[in-house]
Amino acid sequence: MDSDQARAILSIYRPGIDDNDPQFAEALAQAARDPELAAWLGRHRQHYADVRQKLRGLAVPDELAETIVRERPIPFHWPAISIPTWQMAAAVALMAALAGFFAHDLSSRDKSARNRAAGARLTEGSTITVTGEVLDMACYIASNLSGPEHAECARTCIKNGLPVGIKGPDGKAYLLVGTNEPLNAQLADYAAKTVTVKGIVRERDGFLMLDQVTIEKM
């Protein structure tokens, strides 16, 4: 290897970082033999150190870390406390069973009973206000878990993105959805607590949902 070849190779050499990279070994040996190349390498090192110092000296806003951690709702995946697969499967199975039950129930009633049921049903599309407990719907449907003793688990599940709901004083449970967005971030810390929400009633196959929900009172 001559000095020109060594210089070309060493043009991307970084002292301290590439010292053990074999692609530079021979070129560094050549620099040790050639004083002119060694002088060039000295300038190269200085340039590298100067630029590196400038870039590494760029100031970082003090509040940035805080902003990242605190101000932006981050849906964590917390494997250690995630809902077990069997529990999710149970929730799905139970929801399917409930849907089947409602379908069967409605079809087997006589017409007048069906009309009475329809009359008692909430009006699809109407805006209502519900005050009640914030539920983690997965645990509630799968295991009937709610209340203060389940608050911490519910908070975690809601934070993790599992469906959030509310149970009103009449015993009806509603899935809660914002205007094309989840409400998990806003409601996670109110798991098992009482809040008031307003939203548009949606009903399908026996399931109740409040759509375009606004949180009125926490």
């Binding site: 991307i12 990279d21 590196r52 110092q53 849906p75 250690a80």
Partner: protein, 184 residues
């Protein structure tokens, strides 16, 4: 604080996430600022990168290196941001703040850093990212190639070209500065 650079664990709690942020947000921000020359964009890219981590970081179990994953993600987000920004030509360039260094040897003046960022911003983006990682990070070339999702040879040749371009630009900028100080 234990570095997570070669950590293969999942980030399983808010405390660990905070630790990860604390370890790497400065590096990510400086990488973003060197790429964009915009403080606001750099902050956004850093935030977005950690946001993506929080959503997908658990997939890192096999990948094994948090910092490389974060740098790769930030670079991808930068490319995406650039594509969007190209639609809006009247972008404003944010003011760059430079850490106050004590006077004396090794002090970095604000104007020096601005000049450096100005020069970097004139280097084409495909060359800029490898060059910035070359100077800023202690990554081996293979790792830089992994971060930028490029072949090793491509990364090295781009660094070599970009570096000589930067040298020319810096020499030109220094010449201008000398002229200004001599001739007012």
């Amino acid at each position: 604080m234990k570095p997570l650079d070669n950590d293969v664990r999942r980030i399983t709690s808010a405390a660990e996430f905070e630790q990860l942020v604390d370890l790497y947000y400065r590096d990510l921000y400086r990488f973003g600022l060197s790429l964009t020359r915009s403080e606001a964009d750099a902050a956004d890219l850093t935030q977005q990168t950690f946001y993506i981590w929080a959503n997908k970081g658990h997939q890192l179990r096999e990948a094994g290196n948090a910092k490389r994953w974060l740098l790769t993600t930030l670079h991808r987000e930068f490319l995406q941001l650039r594509r969007k920004q190209q639609k809006f030509s009247d972008e404003t360039v944010d003011e760059i703040f430079v850490e106050a260094s004590p006077n004396g040897d090794g002090a970095v003046s604000r104007s020096d850093v601005e000049r450096m960022l100005d020069c970097l911003s004139t280097i084409p983006e495909t060359y800029r990212a490898p060059l910035v990682l070359y100077y800023l990070e202690d990554l081996a070339y293979k790792e830089i190639a992994d971060v930028l999702e490029l072949p090793l040879g491509t990364v090295q040749s781009r660094i070599a070209r970009a570096k000589s371009q930067l040298l020319r630009l810096l020499n030109g900028a220094n010449l201008e500065r000398k002229k200004e100080s001599c001739c007012g």
